[in-house]
């Protein structure tokens, strides 16, 4: 069982595009101060940022745990929202249910979940339509272990 070394919980507010992404940049600052490898930082922060933007855009708010264990660094994110009816379809690059407002913000081109998958070593999505979605994704610190 992995030993949890650090856990920090962030609140994500719906449709607040001005503040959207601030939690993820705070995670970046934290990882930098802990002297993690820059490539690992960039990958984890892309994962956190895309996941955070999804909650801002689609859900009615949520929470994101940033967790460091002796085995991995990851984010566990849970929201209250519409849920994802077909996760496999949502994972396809280019598939999007974004509104014009989201596209005007530069998001909603159908690359959010694919980007999370691309940059993480593990990804688990569970969703209930009409209730919400949980996403856990992160990076293994010792891939050979």
């Amino acid at each position: 069982m992995a030993e949890e070394l650090l856990k920090k919980t962030f609140t994500i507010f719906p449709r607040n595009f001005d503040k959207a992404g601030e939690n993820s940049t705070e995670i970046k600052t934290l990882l930098k101060s802990l002297n993690f490898d820059p490539d690992i930082i960039r990958r984890l922060v892309v994962v956190a940022f895309e996941a955070e933007m999804n909650v801002v855009m689609y859900a009615n708010g949520g929470e994101m745990d940033f967790v460091i264990t002796d085995e991995d660094i990851r984010i566990d994110i849970r929201d209250e929202g519409p849920g994802i009816p077909d996760i496999q379809q949502a994972m396809q690059e280019g598939y999007s249910t974004a509104t014009d407002e989201m596209r005007e913000m530069g998001f909603g081109f159908g690359m959010g979940l694919p980007n999370i998958k691309r940059h993480s070593d593990f990804l688990n999505i569970e969703s209930q339509v009409g209730k919400g979605t949980t996403v856990s994704a992160g990076i293994r610190l010792n891939p050979d272990a």
């Binding site: 959207a20 892309v46 913000m105 081109f109 694919p114 980007n115």
Partner: protein
């Protein structure tokens, strides 16, 4: 390529004049879609975009972008430039469109990161 050269080639306005234009960029990320920038991030890249809202700077920060060129004569809000300053990202703006900006930089030797 130095940012100073990019400024000359694209006839850019410099929105963060206090920042060092002697900094180098070696690769380019060009898109109005922020997830495309994040998909192909390379540290120290130049980001070219027509998206001028605050999310463009947050994306640049997440992707460790060194400088942004806003195109098509669009200028970002001052709060967007302020965030870039905080994140030590140089901000330039040009009246040229995406096709010409990319073509001119490619002709001068810069290559894409995607």
């Amino acid at each position: 390529m130095k940012l100073e050269e990019i400024k000359q080639i694209l006839q850019c306005q410099v929105l963060t004049p206090e920042m060092d234009l002697n900094l180098e960029v070696n690769t380019v990320l060009a898109s109005d879609g922020m997830s495309e920038i994040l998909a192909f991030h390379k540290p120290g890249a130049l980001m070219i975009t027509g998206l001028t809202n605050i999310q463009s700077v947050r994306t640049a920060d997440v992707a460790d972008v060194r400088a942004i060129v806003y195109i098509r004569g669009k200028l970002p809000h001052e709060k967007t430039v302020d965030l870039a300053r905080q994140k030590k990202i140089t901000v330039l703006a040009t009246n040229l469109g995406m096709f010409d900006v990319c073509g001119m930089l490619r002709e001068n030797g810069l290559k894409g990161a995607m």
